[in-house]
Symmetry: C2
Subunit: 211 residues, 2 copies
């Protein structure tokens, strides 16, 4: 037995393989071979393949959401936070808790895969429920001049930016001609916060002005 326990090696291998090759395309035989353990270890430590992938996501998402809420607590204890402060509290924990862009990419790909499944066993969204509620309220307070319904729409647009932007490093490289990389966490954070702040604060669409 090597340094990390079997359970942790299973989580590590599952995170990497599920993210890179896909959940359905990765068999538990490849996975346990990659982790250097027996096939039955999955059943013993997690029960099923579905419980394993949920545990993989939860291991990454839970600390991020806890730090998000802690930062928001700190901000609101100090007064009424600016929009950019709330945005940084929401985005920074995701980027800064991972070593490089590849780590964020893996979590994003895992999340996206679970998002497109409707299996009742895979209720990953409950991990975000309390965080979502708290931050929706914070955004409403930070945007008093914007119609709340418009804020709801814009939060709906904001979620995909945070969840999906770093899910494919090639896309960023292709679109930017190689000039941008998610490995520069600080720059990525600054760009995302300025983009989201601009979108959330934009002039509201006029009633009939779509054409």
């Amino acid at each position: 037995m090597s340094d990390p326990s079997t359970k942790e090696r299973l989580l590590d291998s599952a995170e990497r393989l599920f993210a890179e090759r896909g959940y359905a395309a990765t068999s538990l035989r490849e996975l346990t071979q990659d982790a250097g353990c027996n096939l039955a270890a999955v059943n013993y430590h997690f029960g099923t393949k579905e419980a394993l992938v949920l545990a993989v996501l939860e291991r990454r998402v839970r600390p991020v959401n806890e730090e998000r809420l802690a930062r928001l607590d700190a901000l609101e204890a100090a007064g009424t936070p600016q929009l950019e402060d709330v945005l940084r509290a929401f985005v920074a924990p995701l980027l800064e808790r991972h070593r490089d862009g590849a780590a964020v990419e893996r979590v994003a790909r895992l999340f996206l895969q679970l998002s497109t499944m409707r299996d009742p066993e895979l209720q990953h969204y409950r991990l975000f429920q309390s965080t979502a509620t708290r931050f929706v309220a914070a955004f409403l307070r930070a945007l008093p001049e914007v119609d709340p319904v418009t804020v709801y729409w814009r939060i709906t647009f904001m979620i995909p930016v945070v969840a999906m932007s770093f899910s494919d490093a090639e896309r960023l490289a292709f679109l930017s001609g190689g000039t941008a990389s998610a490995d520069d966490t600080e720059r990525a954070l600054a760009h995302m916060v300025s983009f989201l702040a601009g979108g959330l604060r934009a002039p509201e669409p006029t009633a009939g002005g779509a054409a």
Copy 2:
């Protein structure tokens, strides 16, 4: 043989079932039964399951991208388009070519599923290559006051908004407390354009101002 051909019924059933239950979770036996045809019809008309899902996506995406490019052609023929015009040319074809929010949701879920696979057979992104190149250039021209590298970053943030915002009707309903629905195409378009325009035009992040 009923009105739509077997091939079209296969595409219809595949679009619905792949989107609702997931590509991997839908067997060709369920699918052909839903379409009211024989299992071998998939092999006969498409060859493999992968070729089928690609055909499903292409049937919806190709007309959208063609209309995007046609609208951009028309805009550029008439002069130098405003940012909002380019955004509408990009977003409107997706929303207006589908009857309701559920249709957009299906296409979005299909696209997201294929995005998280790295199978070389599923090169769905080639469908977007020419459209992406043309629109990147158009956004750069419409944003002469913004550093091009910043524009690249912001286009990277924009793609997820368009691709994922309507992929889950429940998310929109939950976040908005039921006040927003993607079935109102015109309103959804106006909100998305204003959000994206605000994000793309936002003040650029200062060099050291991330903390």
